[in-house]
Structures are given as structure tokens and as C-alpha cells.
Amino acid sequence: MADLEDFHHFFRHIKKSWMDGDFVDPAAFRLAKKKDDQFEDGLSINWLEYFEKSSPQEAIAPLRQILENKGRKVGGESKFALLNVEAAKAAASRYIAIAIVHDEEKEDPSHALVTGYNTHNDQVAEELSKVVIDTYPAKL
């Protein structure tokens, strides 16, 4: 899996229940635990530049379609948080070095992962939440 370029960006889908008003709980950036109590392989994200759009906003509709085709529920009041790769790595480095890699899936070619912070899950999640550039409604 190839690293995303530092100057590139990624989206993280934020469910409505992970927000209170405009506040996004940093737990949205935590690695989830699977049924076997092991952490998931990485934080599931989507690579913005894959969509080749002139603005992040324009990438939202095709991204939402991809996620819905995968069977994911994308509620109308959920959002997509936008982060920069370099800023995310720098923020996490306060605790541990992370990797942000392209993890192309057949139905989701923009899929990517943030990996390497199982040992500092809560801490890195807090730091990632601090470098969110903007949030975009999943549905306008």
C-alpha cells in the first residue's frame, strides 16, 4: 500500500451520533475494536485527490455514492471531515508515527487507511480531531 502524498487530503465520515451540534467528538478518529477485541487494521478514510475535483465540496456527492454502494448508511445529517496528510502525521507524532496509505477497494478506489496507532488510540484520536480543516454535510 502506497503512502498518500503529504500535500494531499482525506475525508473521514462522521456519523451524526458522534457529533453534538458543530462539535465532532474526537472518538470519531479512534480505531474501533472488532468482535475478537482486536483493533481494526486502520482508520477508514477516503482520499480526496482521487476524485480530481476542483474543490472538496464537489467530491462529496460521488464519495457518498461510493459509500452507499458499499452498503454504508450515510445519514443526511452526518458529515465528512477533511484533513491534510502532513498535518495529520505531524499532530499524531506527539505520541507516535502514523502512516496514511492508499487501500484501494474494488467498490471504493479512494479508500485509504490511517494506521499505526493501536498503542495510542485515544491520544492520536484527540490530536487528529484538532487538525480537521473543515467539515461538509453529507447531503445538501
Binding site: K15, K16, S17, W18, M19, D20, G21, F23, D25, A27, A28, R30, A32, K33, K73, G75, E77, S78, D122, Q123, E126
Partner: protein, 193 residues
């Protein structure tokens, strides 16, 4: 006096779930009668918890629903306007979680409600659900200045605290017995306003 009220629950239709009684009964004792208007409002709010089809209802969901009902009832009857806001938020979260295929940990709900019933004087926090299904609250006072408590439904609650220290930000991650979170955090400098 003891008051008892019964009303029909929204039907739960699942081959895996059955109710021994199609009526849910709430019993409580108070020295004074609860005004009828307050009871009616409580029932209406509680019923809003269950407008969603439970075609796939399983026991954990049912348990969660019961815990939310209990929490909403207790918070709403506590004669504290902040607690009513919290009850309303809990109902919203429950609906959002169901719509998003998420769940709320029943043990987290109980711990959350007990905490706010015990501390009637602290401010209204941001209230969210974590991807693990636990309730989390956060009092935000500005960049690098907040306290967050996660109700894991276990004796130890998870706490994150950031405080300004001159030009730097002190950061704390710790676990404490839920009953000690407030005194410990306040000793460090946290505010729950």
C-alpha cells in the same frame, strides 16, 4: 404516595424477542403527587424513544431501550432543567444511533444517568456517542481547555483533560472510579461549568 402508570409500548415485532406484557409499568414513590401535566409530558417524551421499527430487535437493543427509558424518566423527574435537556439529548442520540446502525451500551446509559443525577450543579456538556457505543461528555472552555468523561459502564471512567499552562497545554489521559472523577479533575484545575 405511590403512583403507578401503565401504557402500551410501541409493538416490538421480532421472532427473537417477546415481551411478557404488552404494557410497561412505571412505579415510583413521592411525598407529593406528580402533576398530571408533568406525567403526560413524560409519557409523551418516553414514547418518542420507540417510533422506529424494531424488525431486527435483539436483546441488547431491548435492554438499551429499557435503560434509556429509565434514564429519561429519572432525569426528567429530577426537577432540574439541565437534566431535562440531557434527557432530550439522550432520546435524540438513541434515535440517531438506531438510524445509523449504531448502538448505545446499556451499562453506559445507567452510569451516565447516575452521574448527572448525582451532580445537579455542573454545567450542560456536549454529549456524544463513541464508535464503541459508550456515552461521552465534554465541557469545552476554549482551545486546549476542556474535560471529557467517557462512561464505559465499568467502575473506571475514562477521562481526557486539557488545561492551559502558560504558553503550553497540559494534557491528561487517565481512568478514575466514576465517583472520584469530579474531585480529582477539579484538583488538577478542571472546570465543569
Amino acid at each position: 404516595m405511590e403512583a403507578r402508570m401503565s401504557y402500551q409500548l410501541e409493538p416490538i415485532t421480532s421472532a427473537n424477542t417477546s415481551l411478557s406484557d404488552s404494557y410497561f409499568t412505571v412505579t415510583y414513590s413521592r411525598d407529593v403527587p406528580i402533576p398530571e401535566a408533568q406525567l403526560v409530558e413524560l409519557i409523551q417524551r418516553a414514547k418518542r424513544i420507540a417510533p422506529i421499527s424494531f424488525d431486527n430487535a435483539i436483546d441488547p437493543d431491548y435492554s438499551s431501550k429499557q435503560k434509556i427509558f429509565d434514564a429519561v424518566k429519572d432525569l426528567y423527574l429530577s426537577n432540574n432543567s439541565r437534566n431535562r435537556q440531557i434527557a432530550d439529548r439522550l432520546i435524540s442520540l438513541h434515535r440517531d444511533a438506531l438510524a445509523e446502525d449504531e448502538h448505545i451500551d446499556p451499562n453506559s446509559i445507567s452510569q451516565f444517568a447516575e452521574f448527572f443525577l448525582s451532580y445537579g450543579h455542573i454545567g450542560l456538556p456536549k454529549i456524544t456517542l463513541t464508535p464503541d457505543g459508550t456515552l461521552r461528555v465534554r465541557w469545552l472552555h476554549g482551545p486546549g481547555n476542556f474535560i471529557a468523561i467517557e462512561f464505559a459502564g465499568k467502575p473506571l471512567a475514562k477521562v481526557v483533560l486539557e488545561l492551559p499552562r502558560g504558553d503550553e497545554t497540559a494534557q491528561y489521559f487517565f481512568s478514575e472510579p466514576i465517583e472520584k472523577v469530579i474531585p480529582v479533575a477539579r484538583a488538577i484545575g478542571a472546570s465543569f461549568a
